[in-house]
């Protein structure tokens, strides 16, 4: 028979005012197994805790019930006290007779009866509690960063600078992401490449960063501290260590391709370097667009029809036989920084995007502004190369539009539109810039001043209203809109139209499936808590940084990247992790192998295991719960029809006993 100590707290007047403490103490004394029943004004105080510790030692208590406030407040306090006395901390139960009783029921008779029942139920429950020890999980001291944009770069550098190795995987041939496409960044008008490329070079030179570009993560298995990652290194067909980036190959390559770095505004060759400052500084052969793609001799051998690049290459860096390679890495923490794309939605098409060449989105205009872009920084109409005079910028194209786009605000467009208008005015002094807006969101540091600069110094005309139509007439783009502040309709004959389209997560957040983390309906990766845990996910060991989590600008991206790095470093600073032991346990002898538990587990913690006889023959498959991944929700336990799964700390025995104790009490109390 257990020896349970029951300690009832007065909490000053908080409990004692409405609950007759002595009655609860006397009542608890009658419960079978109650060896010690005490009360004290403040159980959580040092003397209060000491009372518990002394009682455990003096009376050989093996279970403890504290009837006091909510366990959400002081469960750790009393568990620590028990541990100090040598009692397993999971053999302590709290009965909430304050928040759920004395504070909400002012009739002392009813409150005391409820308190008595709550305490008895807690005693019955704790008698079935079992000692539990934290689960120790070793930690592989290496981090994986998925995505080589500014977020991934910052995270990788921070972790590597703290002395932990990092694997950084980027699927484009070069680091840089969307930030490398930008001309200047708001509000400082820093040259984007100039501030980014030093960081890119630092990554490539860092002894602790293993950089894999032109690579993708294909599979992730394992759990916090012990992930196994498979990475596919695509065949670049150019040996990076030999390539000098001289460019002779691209000059002679006969295969032109639309240049995706320039958002399709220019062409590159099948063998190309995305931009001059690419890291690694190497050309890449786009195998799908090379003239040798899919050529086969009648006997099935791969044929090389064109080797012009190889002939021109002096270091002989080109290798047509290169194959993709799958590599495996063990990591302890994963940071996802997969970034964003601009979404051309229905609204953009209605504004003439894709119909008129002179209607473009924000990134396309950005490339046009860039000195290394398709027009070397000159603003020219794609249709005829003429310099535009009147340019209309339309904000919120697709954003803030639940019916025809996405409901959220893409956050950066007000600022980059102001920047675009300002830069246009710098480059083409005789131009006129018109911005159609719904609101101006300029909340960052220096942002409001920047927008005012565009409005007042550069005389950009801001029109509060929406655009209903864009169509071509007499070589001009007619933009029909409204100015809600004056109440008048507005018609502008524009030479060019730039749309601030919606930001969407890369690939609609497909990476979430590979990592088994949650994403919302737009594909933005879900953080553990939007306010208090913005860089963690609900999957232990996986963190988020950058626009993959939600639309944001560069300062917030970099801040979040460093925050995610800090979380990763915190994880990797341990040699072993302690996980909560309230996990699921499968009775494998009884398991019928239906695996419905596996189907409901939110964490993929259930695995299939083989049961073999002594000769090694496979008898059947049974379920097993990995205590390192299990979070103890209990879905598996209820789903299992036979009742072959139980949750430590919330076991069937404990719940059964607790429910049993809530029944017959009124009779005993004589009420």
């Amino acid at each position: 028979m257990s020896r349970v100590g029951v300690f009832v707290c007065h909490c000053g007047e908080n409990i004692a005012r409405n609950v007759k403490v002595q009655e609860v103490v006397d009542f608890a004394h009658q419960v079978p197994g109650a060896a010690v029943t005490e009360h004290y004004p403040y159980m959580c105080s040092a003397p209060g805790q000491q009372m518990v510790i002394d009682a455990i030692r003096e009376h050989g208590l093996d279970r403890v019930v504290i009837a006091a406030c909510s366990p959400q407040l002081h469960e750790p306090t009393f568990r620590a006290a028990a541990a100090q006395a040598g009692l397993n901390p999971h053999l302590v139960e709290m009965a909430n007779i304050r928040e759920h009783c004395s504070w909400v029921h002012h009739d002392p008779i009813a409150a005391s009866a409820k308190a008595c029942q709550t305490v008895v139920a807690a005693v019955e429950r704790v008698k079935r509690a079992k000692p539990l020890d934290p689960i120790e999980v070793p930690v592989t001291k290496r981090a994986l960063v998925i995505g080589g944009g500014v977020a991934g770069i910052r995270t990788a550098l921070d972790i590597a600078n703290s002395g932990q190795p990092v694997v950084l995987v980027e699927r484009q041939p070069s680091l840089g992401g969307n930030m490398s496409r930008l001309s200047e960044t708001f509000p400082t008008l820093d040259c984007s490449q100039c501030i980014l490329t030093p960081l890119m070079v630092q990554v490539s030179r860092h002894p602790l960063i293993e950089l894999m570009t032109y690579s993708e993560v294909t599979e992730v298995s394992g759990y916090v501290g012990n992930f196994t990652v498979r990475i596919k290194k695509k065949a670049r067909h150019v040996r990076v260590e030999d390539c000098t980036a001289c460019g002779d190959c691209a000059v002679v390559c006969p295969s032109p391709v639309s240049n995706e770095f320039d958002m399709g505004l220019s062409t590159r060759k099948a063998i190309y370097i995305p931009f001059p400052q690419a890291v690694p500084s190497s050309y890449t052969l786009d195998a799908d667009r090379c003239l040798n793609a899919n050529l086969q001799s009648p006997t099935g051998f791969r044929v090389l029809a064109c080797v012009k690049c190889d002939e021109a290459c002096k270091p002989k860096a080109i290798d047509f036989d290169m194959q993709p390679e799958i590599v495996e890495r063990q990591v302890g923490a994963i940071i996802v920084a997969t970034g964003f794309d601009l979404q051309i939605g229905q609204q953009a098409k209605e504004c003439g995007y894709g119909v008129y060449p002179d209607v473009m989105d924000g990134l396309e205009f950005e490339r046009m502004l860039s000195a290394s872009g398709p027009t070397e920084g000159e603003v020219r109409r794609p249709s005829d190369g003429a310099t535009p005079k009147d340019v209309v910028f339309i904000q919120c194209v697709g954003s803030r539009n639940p019916k025809h786009g996405v409901p959220y605000c893409s956050r950066i467009c007000c600022m980059y539109t102001a920047k675009h208008a300002l830069l246009l005015r710098h480059k083409v002094p005789e131009s006129r810039a018109f911005v159609f807006y719904m609101d101006i969101r300029a909340g960052g540091k220096g942002y409001e001043e920047f927008v005012h600069r565009a409005m007042e110094e550069e005389r950009v005309m801001y029109i509060r209203g929406r655009v209903s139509q864009v169509y071509e007439e007499d070589g001009k783009l007619k933009v029909l809109g409204v100015d809600t502040l004056s109440g008048k309709q507005v018609e502008i004959n524009a030479d060019m139209v730039v749309l601030a389209s919606a930001m969407e997560p890369t690939d609609h957040g497909k990476i979430a499936g590979t990592l088994r983390i949650a994403a919302d309906e737009h594909g933005f990766l879900k953080e553990a808590h939007p306010k208090l845990r913005p860089v963690e996910t609900l999957t232990a060991g996986i963190y988020l940084a950058g626009a993959a989590q939600a639309p944001k600008d560069i300062p917030d991206t970099v801040a979040q990247a460093s925050a995610a790095a800090a979380k990763g470093m915190e994880l990797l600073s341990h040699d072993a992790l302690e996980r909560d032991p309230t996990t699921a346990h499968v009775n494998q002898a009884a398991c019928a192998g239906c695996f419905e538990c596996l189907q409901v587990c939110p964490y993929g913690a259930i695995e299939r295991q083989e049961v073999r006889d002594r000769q090694g023959n496979l008898l059947r498959m049974v379920a097993w719960s990995n205590p390192a991944m299990c979070e103890g929700c209990g879905l598996c336990a209820v789903t299992c029809r036979g009742g072959f799964i139980d949750i430590a700390g919330y076991s069937d025995d404990q719940v059964f006993a607790q429910l049993g104790a809530l029944g017959p009490l009124p009779e005993v109390l004589g009420r």
Binding site: Q72, K114, A121, A592, A657, L659
Partner: protein
């Protein structure tokens, strides 16, 4: 002592409510949301009735119907289940899976005539202290109106609501010559399958000891195959024997009626049988007559074999089947009976089911014959803890039949063997059919594709929840 079994006490004259009686309500709450929400109600010093006793869980996903039943069994007048709002579950999807479970459990309670004023579900978040207080007030009022949990009255006898007759044409009659031809094709095919080594055993029917009755046989020799029979005596669901037969043979042929084939879906989905180890043989069924009259499940059926069978036998010969097409939809004659029960007031439904359950002997024949009951030990036999009391009274019988129905919800495919073998003639088929209809109505899942998740293991954000406070 109060019991799970309430009775016709409401229309027989309610028991006198003791002076100053307050309902006892057990609340199963999740730690992250509702428990914290109740804490917040306390911190805000809101006042609400002292009727609720809290039981803390990590998640609504941990809350089993067995626990709700135990609360009632231990004398609670009402039960409240509360957790996080959908989308906010600390464990991502615990409440979403639980929501489907609660939906079906509640509709089962309603069908059995239990006063729904005693059973409530709510989503209360950690920020909703005020909502918690309001929910407790509303639930207390509802349970008070329902009164103390009534004591059981004697429920002997067979009187009670009478169900309308189940009606239907049934399958077309098979002319005698065709019957003989079918049987001969069956025997020949079975011999061929065995002798060619394509299968190691043929599961079918042979003549029994009583006239007109057929019994299952696992024919492992040509001689046994030549004794195979078919016809209206072929009542047994042979799928129940498939797993056992496959222990002794690599591949088995199974003579199967359309109503039985769907039981295979569940077994395949739950990893108990590999489809490729079975060779399904289908033939026109004349409808089975377990006790002289056509079985209720046959009334709306055409008797046509399921197109998914590997071999289809006709009086003319044998042809390959294996089509992906679904079987023709059948009207179920029992739907009228279910609709009738649903149209009655809850106390009359209660009386009907209490009379049914009172006859239960706990022989567990229903469990033994069900193809989908394959657990090595049943939860009803579990001792620590003993969720299902072994007492053969309203209490134990009620909990047994409820939990059995819940275990079959979304899985049972209506072979009706349980109702056929029940020595007490309990209408188990009605309960299972009702829950099958409910699963389809609420979640649109017919459960006939082994590749799809079973309905109660799956969830959608938009699952219905009008009953949740």
């Amino acid at each position: 002592m109060s019991d799970l079994a309430t009775s016709a006490v409401r229309h027989a004259g309610a028991a006198a409510v003791p002076d100053g009686w307050q309902p006892q309500i057990v609340a199963l709450v999740c730690n992250w949301c509702t428990y914290a929400g109740a804490d917040m109600a306390g911190t805000t010093r809101l006042e609400y009735p002292a009727t609720v006793r809290m039981v803390r869980f990590p998640c609504t996903g941990r809350m089993s119907p067995l626990m709700i039943l135990r609360a009632f069994e231990q004398g609670a007048d009402g039960v409240l289940v509360s957790g996080c709002h959908p989308g906010d579950c600390h464990y991502v999807q615990g409440n979403l899976v639980a929501r489907r479970r609660f939906t079906i459990f509640r509709s089962l309670m309603d069908f059995l005539g239990i006063d729904l004023r005693r059973l409530h579900f709510a989503w209360v978040s950690a920020a909703e202290g005020h909502k918690w207080a309001r929910v407790v007030k509303d639930v207390s009022a509802a349970v008070s109106a329902a009164g103390p949990l009534p004591r059981p009255l004697a429920t002997d006898g067979w009187e009670g609501p009478v169900l309308p007759a189940a009606e239907g044409e049934g399958p077309r009659e098979i002319p005698a010559a065709d019957s003989v031809a079918l049987r001969d094709h069956l025997r020949r095919t079975a011999v061929e399958l065995l002798e060619s080594g394509r299968v190691g055993v043929v599961i079918g029917h042979r003549r029994g000891s009583l006239p007109g009755r057929l019994v299952p046989v696992m024919a492992a020799t040509a001689a046994e195959c030549r004794e195979l029979e078919w016809g209206e005596g072929a009542v047994n669901n042979l799928v129940t024997y498939a797993a056992t037969a496959l222990k002794g043979a690599e591949k088995a042929a199974l003579v199967v009626k359309a109503c039985e084939l769907h039981a295979l879906t569940g077994l395949i989905r739950e990893g108990q049988i590999a489809r490729e180890r079975l060779l399904l043989v289908g033939l026109q069924c004349p409808g089975v007559r377990p006790e002289g009259g056509l079985a209720a499940k046959c009334l709306g059926c055409s008797g046509a074999p399921h197109p998914a069978c590997d071999l289809l036998l006709t009086p003319e010969g044998v042809r390959e089947g294996g089509s992906e097409a679904p079987a023709a939809a059948n009207d179920d004659a029992r739907d009228r009976q279910i609709a009738h029960l649903e149209s009655l007031p809850a106390d009359e439904r209660w009386l009907y089911w209490q009379r049914q359950f009172a006859r239960c002997l706990r022989c567990y024949a229903c469990r033994a014959v069900c193809p989908l009951c394959y657990c090595s030990t049943c939860v009803a036999d579990k001792h620590r803890p003993q969720w299902v009391p072994t007492t053969i009274d309203a209490r134990g019988n009620g909990i047994w039949n409820v939990i059995r129905a819940m275990h079959l919800a979304g899985r049972c495919t209506g072979c009706d063997e349980c109702a056929r073998v029940c020595p007490a003639d309990i209408r188990l088929d009605l309960i299972n059919r009702k829950l099958a209809l409910e699963v389809e109505r609420q979640f649109g899942a017919a459960g006939l594709d082994p590749g799809e998740k079973a309905a109660l293991v799956d969830f959608r954000m938009e699952d219905p929840e009008e009953f949740i406070l």
